[in-house]
């Protein structure tokens, strides 16, 4: 097996060399790595912006920047993190790389469309950069682009929403590719209940991408039309409705939260059973909960709008529906914990990061109930409590799942191992820093500190200082994690085909995989998380 050249040494289509072998590739694995490079750049940039924002807030008054710059910077931080990191990170990188392999096939259904999606992603990012320097500078509207402010202000809103429009198209096409690959390309012997849970989560996500993303695309077009032609869609003086914008925006942006979190949940569902050496608890319940989250999550968008002036009947209904989403989310958390019960747990960096995910995501989920209930939401709406809740879910959830996925699949993607010790140090610092960063924000929010404010009252200074301090610790942890992974390229400790004892198909092929993934026809297991063979092998090795 080791004699088979990896995808790094063979191009698809054949005959391409050098940079062309990357820029014109149809290989889903190369495209996954190309997304990794782009997403990594955006993540680091947005992380630096976030750190600068928190540095500004560490003391009262002006610290390092003026209020105008602050407003543009939190918008830029939000836009980059949401559209260029959290949404594409797991599906575009790990989904592209592993979905076809887990389905026992050699590529996605539309390989050229996959390449086109990557170019759209890069093009959208380029537009975002251009909008920084063109016209009157980057918008200061926040990533939500709420009207009437986004229609009236002089900043470069048009170009920025165009960037988001293009990125949305990239996301939709990736979703379309995944759904089609799921149905048309998977090994004929693989039934629906034999598909790994990561792939199931990508499938559920892909549907949300296809169904919800067009809504935001149209909404952004409407904003541009409103800015340039003053049609009056959102202007009450002309018969428009400003709340209509919020409906349209959240129709996509709330399901987008599930586009962000579902693939992360899929990653955790892969990692927990492997390092517990035990079949996943409630496989079918996890599959159906993914689909239930995708469906129910698309029906709750207006819980962002309780204070907007929406009708009381809608407030009541959307609050009720919001509580329904908690059920499938909790099914997953209970299933992961139950999987570990009486398992033979082996601690590794991916597992540690997965455990951190479960804890942080649970806090995010439970604080979400405070916001889902109308009475408590009105108290903390638009405060730092919301900022903290959101980051517990998006960063404590998706961010940590991304780190876990990176550490879990790194040996398979690059064929090399990394230092566990440095990975543990990085992970622990990131988690401790995270808590120092976001727990004070929960308290600040309860005390009434609004979000997106440049300055604050003296009583909020201690909390803001602590949050800033935590931000620095967290970033230090992230830097250690990334440097450790990058150092593995220099150390070049070779990774075996299956360093963890995994059972899904990616662990049955060489590390890194060959260009067509499978050298011989893959063996499809009756159940993808059957660890009998792995346990027996490990017992034999012990003897």
């Amino acid at each position: 097996m080791t004699a088979t050249p990896s995808f790094y040494h063979q191009s698809a289509p054949p005959g391409l060399t050098g940079i062309k072998a990357w820029l014109l590739t149809h290989d889903h694995k190369r495209l996954g790595l190309m997304y990794l490079g782009a997403v990594f750049f955006w993540f680091v940039l947005a992380m630096i912006l976030g750190l600068l924002l928190r540095t500004e807030l560490m003391s009262q008054g002006r610290t390092i920047m003026g209020s105008g710059m602050y407003n543009s910077m939190f918008t830029l931080h939000g836009v980059i993190m949401i559209f260029l990191f959290v949404i594409p990170a797991i599906p575009a990188i790990f989904g592209n790389f592993f979905l076809p392999i887990q389905l026992g096939t050699d590529d996605v259904f539309f390989p050229r469309l996959n390449l086109f999606s990557w170019y759209l992603f890069m093009f959208g990012g380029l537009f975002a950069i251009i909008s920084l320097f063109a016209g009157d500078g980057f918008p200061d509207t926040g990533w939500t682009f709420y009207v009437p402010f986004s229609v009236q202000n002089s900043k470069n809103v048009g170009l920025t929403v165009t960037a988001a429009f293009i990125l949305g198209m990239s996301s939709m096409l990736t979703g379309l590719n995944f759904v089609t690959t799921f149905h048309r390309m998977r090994d004929k012997r693989m039934g629906l209940m034999q598909i790994p849970l990561f792939t199931w989560s990508l499938y559920a996500t892909a549907w949300v991408q296809i169904l919800a993303t067009p809504v935001i695309s149209i909404t952004f077009v409407l904003v541009v039309l409103e800015r340039f032609l003053s049609i009056g869609l959102f202007d009450p003086a002309k018969g428009g409705d400003p709340i209509l914008y919020q409906h349209l925006f959240w129709m996509y942006s709330h399901p987008a939260v599930y586009i962000m979190i579902l693939p992360g949940m899929g990653v955790i569902s892969e990692i927990i059973p492997v390092f517990s050496r035990k079949s996943i608890f409630g496989y079918k319940a996890i599959v159906w909960s993914s689909m239930a989250i995708a469906i129910a999550g698309s029906l709750v968008w207006a819980h962002h709008m309780y204070t907007s002036g929406m009708s009381d009947v809608s407030v009541f209904v959307f609050s009720l529906l919001t509580f329904l989403v908690a059920i499938p989310s909790a099914v997953k958390v209970f299933s992961w914990v139950a999987t570990m019960y009486k398992g033979s747990i082996e601690m590794t960096p991916p597992l540690l990061l997965a455990l951190m995910f479960i804890y942080l995501f649970s806090v995010g989920g439970l604080t979400g109930l405070v916001l889902g209930a109308v009475g408590t939401d009105i108290h903390v709406h638009d405060t730092h409590f919301v900022v903290s809740h959101f980051h517990f879910v998006m960063f404590g959830g998706t961010g940590f799942a991304f780190f876990a996925a990176l550490h879990y699949w790194w040996p398979k993607m690059f064929g090399i191992m990394y230092s566990f010790k440095a990975a543990y140090v990085g992970a622990v610092l990131t988690c401790v820093g995270f808590l120092f960063h976001y727990v004070p924000m929960l308290i600040l929010g309860m005390q009434g500190m609004p979000r997106r404010y440049y300055d604050y009252l003296p009583q909020y200074e201690t909390g803001n200082f602590l949050a800033g301090f935590g931000g620095y610790v967290m970033c230090l942890g992230i830097v250690i994690m990334f440097v450790n992974l990058l150092r593995s390229f220099r150390q070049k400790v070779p990774a075996p085909a299956d360093p963890w004892g995994g059972t899904t198909l990616e662990w049955k092929i060489p590390s890194p995989p060959p260009v067509h993934n499978f050298i011989e026809k893959p063996q499809i297991m009756d159940f993808p998380y059957d660890f009998k063979g792995v346990v027996e092998q490990s017992q034999q090795n012990d003897r």
Binding site: V179, H183, R184, M185, R186, K188, W207, I210, L211, V215, D241, I243, L244, H247, L248, M251, S298, L299, A302, G309, M310, S311, D312, V313, S314, V317
Partner: protein
Amino acid sequence: MDNQDTGHILSYSQLAVVLVILLALTGVTVGVSYIHMGFFNVPVALAVACLKVTFVLLFFMHLKYEGRVIVLSFLSTITFLIIMIGFTFWDVAFR
């Protein structure tokens, strides 16, 4: 995988019949616009438009000949569209 492609090519005559129906329905749309029906003006125009869309989807876009997964996928998109528009109008109705 779930849907083996069975292949289906519509004859020119079948396509022509659909085209004629669509043109006739366009005529109906124009015709009813001259008749004052009060509240029903918009619902009738929308009903005719929906009928035309159905013909396009079934024959020009081959939905009539597709398997269960494709049909279900399409219906799920329609369902979501109905929910999204319905819930938004519902807010306005009770405001």
